[in-house]
């Protein structure tokens, strides 16, 4: 099974995992299934109308009130997948994810350790861009959800035989584990992992880089020194991801203690802009409006004067203001 995250596809087929783009805030993952329907408040979309169309197609439907509803069918990517996740879960967003991949020097032969898996948003970025991802999750339910998701996404082969054969194996290995307590070494005979190869007594992870997104990363750092965990033949990079500065401080302490050097603390500040066109409002138009008002007032005053002088007059001149508009492109950050 090819993963939609690690190879390109041109035509939508039955069984494909696709992302339905309804709006920026509403992107739904579904598996294309013959004779099923995708229902939105903008209309009903039969899967059969989607099968055979090229990826990226806009699918339109007539709604009951004779208007059009439409959706777009996209092939999943880690970035679109991240957008589709509900905001309530803790997500490593693309601003951070891309910087992390860059600083960890990720390429197609890289072997990555990640703990914990969490919402698996970053795992998908790793899975797309590296050779092998070993990810750890200590929360039982989240582990099972992520395992299921990796399988559905073709990132874990369901009939795998040999994990160390790079051409023919899963991109991702997930282990149910508290790495702070039990470290990173994997023993497929004992551990709850996605590995099917039960005959391996233990596995050389040989990781080139490490990503820790844990409440207390400093408790996990010394476990990286266990045999077989890191690639001893080259420089290994580590990234620890923490919200609080006190956590960073403790992490720096542990990293220094265990011989990590060139430690840098950074924060990624990502912004997204809305652009819009802003009408140019000319001073002359404003002045003309005021002049118009003044003329009318003066006419009124004069009329009242004339009325006072018993001279009747009914003609009121109305003037119309012509306003011309120009537009300027401006940016607007959404809240």
């Amino acid at each position: 099974m090819n993963s939609p995250f690690t190879s390109y596809k041109d035509t939508i087929q039955a069984g494909d995992l696709v992302l339905i783009w309804i709006s920026r805030d509403n992107i739904k993952p579904i598996t294309i299934t013959p004779n099923e329907n995708f229902n939105t408040r903008y209309g009903i979309f039969p899967h059969n109308d989607i099968i055979g169309k090229p990826y990226g197609s806009q699918i339109a439907t007539k709604t009951s009130n004779n208007k059009f509803g439409f959706i777009h069918i996209l092939q999943p990517t880690p970035e679109l997948w991240t957008l589709s996740l509900p905001h309530r879960t803790q997500i490593v967003y693309t601003f951070d994810a891309s910087y992390i991949l860059g600083r960890l020097d990720c390429g197609p032969t890289t072997r990555v350790l990640e703990a914990g898996t969490g919402s698996a948003s970053l795992s998908h970025s790793f899975a797309r861009s590296v050779g092998k991802l070993f990810t750890y999750e200590f929360h039982q339910v989240r582990y099972e959800q992520a395992l299921q998701e990796f399988k559905e996404h073709g990132l874990i082969a369901t009939n795998e035989k040999n994990v160390n054969n790079s051409t023919n194996s899963s991109r991702v290995v997930i282990t149910h584990r508290d790495v702070c307590k039990n470290g990173f070494q994997i023993n497929p005979l004992e551990d709850t992992t996605s590995l099917n190869e039960q005959s391996l007594p233990s596995l050389n992870l040989n990781a080139d880089c490490v990503f820790l997104d844990l409440p207390a990363p400093w408790e996990a750092i010394h476990h990286l020194d266990a045999p077989g965990v890191l690639n001893n033949h080259e420089q290994v990079n580590i990234c620890c991801f923490s919200p609080c500065i006190e956590q960073v401080d403790k992490t720096i302490e542990a990293l220094e203690k265990y011989g990590w050097t060139d430690i840098e603390m950074v924060e990624i500040q990502g912004k997204q802009f809305e652009s819009r066109r802003q009408m140019v409002r000319k001073l002359d138009d404003a002045l003309e409006r005021l002049r118009d008002l003044k003329r009318r007032k003066q006419e009124g005053a004069e009329r009242r004067k004339r009325l006072n002088e018993k001279l009747a007059s009914n003609g009121i001149a109305t003037t119309s203001t012509s306003t011309s508009t120009k537009e300027i492109d401006v940016e607007k950050r959404p809240y």
Partner: protein, 466 residues
């Protein structure tokens, strides 16, 4: 040896100096690399170590130094950054005499903190020393009991930079009266002056970019930041098997970054015959500018195989196959062998041009897995034409130094049903001072770094047929 992990002969590496400056060096066998005041070393001595290793230069035996074979003779080729600035050439020479190549040894840490002499570690965390600042008016050299002559003597005695600094600190009368901040600054200044270590790093796109930034050469790469470069790779969904249409006015930095993401580590086993990925670069001048690829560790053959280039005209207004064929008459093997040498050369040039033209036609008709543009051309006219051949559900990513340029583009794309959800974004990496007890966001962030526009190519429905 894998040049993406280990120091290899013939490789381009970044050498980081204690002064925080860096230089790019090609590692040629048997040569000496001179780091100015930080010493000199022999290339051969560092080959085979892991990239990322920090070396210290040391001189073992003062007495034999004059006769040391490591001493550079005038015939040795010396790579050096030191340029005499003015007429005081002789003075300069005296100040920085030709450095003999020292021996090197690995040191574990190159961070400032951990290489502080132990005696000062106790002083630094004393955050209550601020009061004593009251007594400090000016910390001049008169407070320093070691004279420059003493220091030079220590240096000649092959004392390590660390040891010299420790000695200077213990000789400095007012050191303990300084605030922790000025203590820190003092140590850092001294360290940059006397320590003799250097770090050899893999020249990845980030390091190359930092090097250009340090050199003041950042406009050459359109002022792009590392974080902008990295998010470009993610948004463009770069994969080893993809085929990408690229417009790159950064002299190849973006192409290099895409190649690293696609191929890093793959080019070492043979010539990467089994790798499918391809970058198609369209350029607006007669020839492409991929200057910065010379710093990459991809071979010329590998680059030629995976990076195709053609002009915008050839891409947007390709000749017909008929036109191309009308300009070339193929000869048989026999006919060729009968040609005079000069004619034969001309024929092969024509053949190459012919084959290239045919390939260009193919490239101009291919479908692409993504469009990546970093161009100063007017984007609203460029992007729609370049994106015509991008597959549905594939990303278009444009980088620009200026937000206003992308704002204008985004308005155009909003109104065009071939593009889904154009997003204009900015990413900035905020560095912190990373010394425990003194953590703080750094106040001087560089401006610039650029902006990105990201959208998906889509295929609008024909609403007439519903």
């Amino acid at each position: 040896m894998d040049p993406s992990t280990h120091i290899t002969l013939g490789q381009q590496v970044l050498i980081k100096l204690p002064s925080n400056n860096s230089k790019i060096c090609e590692l040629k066998a048997n040569e000496v690399i001179n780091l100015g005041k930080f010493g000199a070393f022999k290339v051969n001595d560092i080959i085979g170590y892991q990239l990322g290793t920090t070396f210290e230069i040391y001189y073992e035996d003062k007495d034999t130094e004059e006769q040391d074979p490591n001493l550079i003779s005038s015939k040795d080729k010396v790579v050096t950054d030191a340029k005499p600035k003015n007429n005081h050439k002789r003075e300069r020479k005296d100040k920085f005499p030709k450095k003999p190549a020292g021996k090197v040894r690995i040191i574990k840490s190159s961070t400032f903190k951990s290489s502080l002499p132990p005696s000062t570690d106790e002083i630094l965390p004393n955050t209550n020393s601020s009061k004593n600042n009251e007594q400090l008016i000016d910390i001049g050299s008169e407070a320093q009991k070691l004279s420059m002559k003493d220091i030079e003597e220590l240096k000649k005695q092959s004392m390590s930079g660390e040891a010299i600094i420790a000695k200077m600190v213990s000789s400095h009368e007012n050191f303990h009266k300084k605030t922790i901040y000025s203590q820190e600054k003092y140590l850092k200044r001294k360290k940059q002056k006397f320590e003799k270590f250097f770090k050899v790093e893999y020249l990845n796109p980030g390091n190359l970019l930092q090097y250009l930034l340090d050199k003041g050469d950042i406009l050459r790469v359109l002022d792009i930041s590392w974080e902008s470069l990295e998010i470009l790779l993610n948004l463009a969904n770069i994969q080893p098997t993809g085929k990408y249409l690229v417009c790159d006015e950064t002299g190849g930095l973006i192409v290099y970054a895409i190649m690293e993401r696609m191929f890093k580590g793959l080019n070492t086993n043979g010539n990467g015959d089994d790798i499918a990925g391809e970058i198609v670069l369209v350029h607006e001048n007669e020839h492409p500018n991929l200057d910065l690829l010379k710093y990459s560790n991809f071979s010329a053959e590998f680059i030629e195989k995976h990076v195709k280039t053609l002009s915008m005209l050839d891409y947007l207004e390709p000749p017909t196959k008929l036109e191309v064929e009308s300009l070339f008459v193929a000869l048989t093997e026999e006919q060729i062998s009968n040609l005079k040498p000069a004619k034969k050369g001309a024929y092969y040039r024509s053949l190459k041009f012919y084959e290239r033209s045919l390939e260009n036609i193919k490239l101009s008709q291919s479908k692409y897995d993504g469009l990546i543009v970093a161009s100063t051309l007017h984007l609203p006219s460029l992007i729609p034409r370049l994106s015509a051949n991008v597959h549905g559900s594939r990303p278009i990513v444009c980088y620009s130094q200026f937000k206003e340029v992308l704002l204008e583009l985004s308005h155009l794309l909003y109104d065009d049903t071939n593009y889904l959800a154009p997003s204009l974004l900015e990413t900035r990496c905020r560095p912190y001072q990373t010394i425990r007890g003194r953590l703080h966001p750094l106040m001087t962030m560089r401006g610039g770094g650029g902006y990105l526009l990201w959208c998906q190519k889509v295929l609008p429905a024909n609403f007439d047929h519903i």
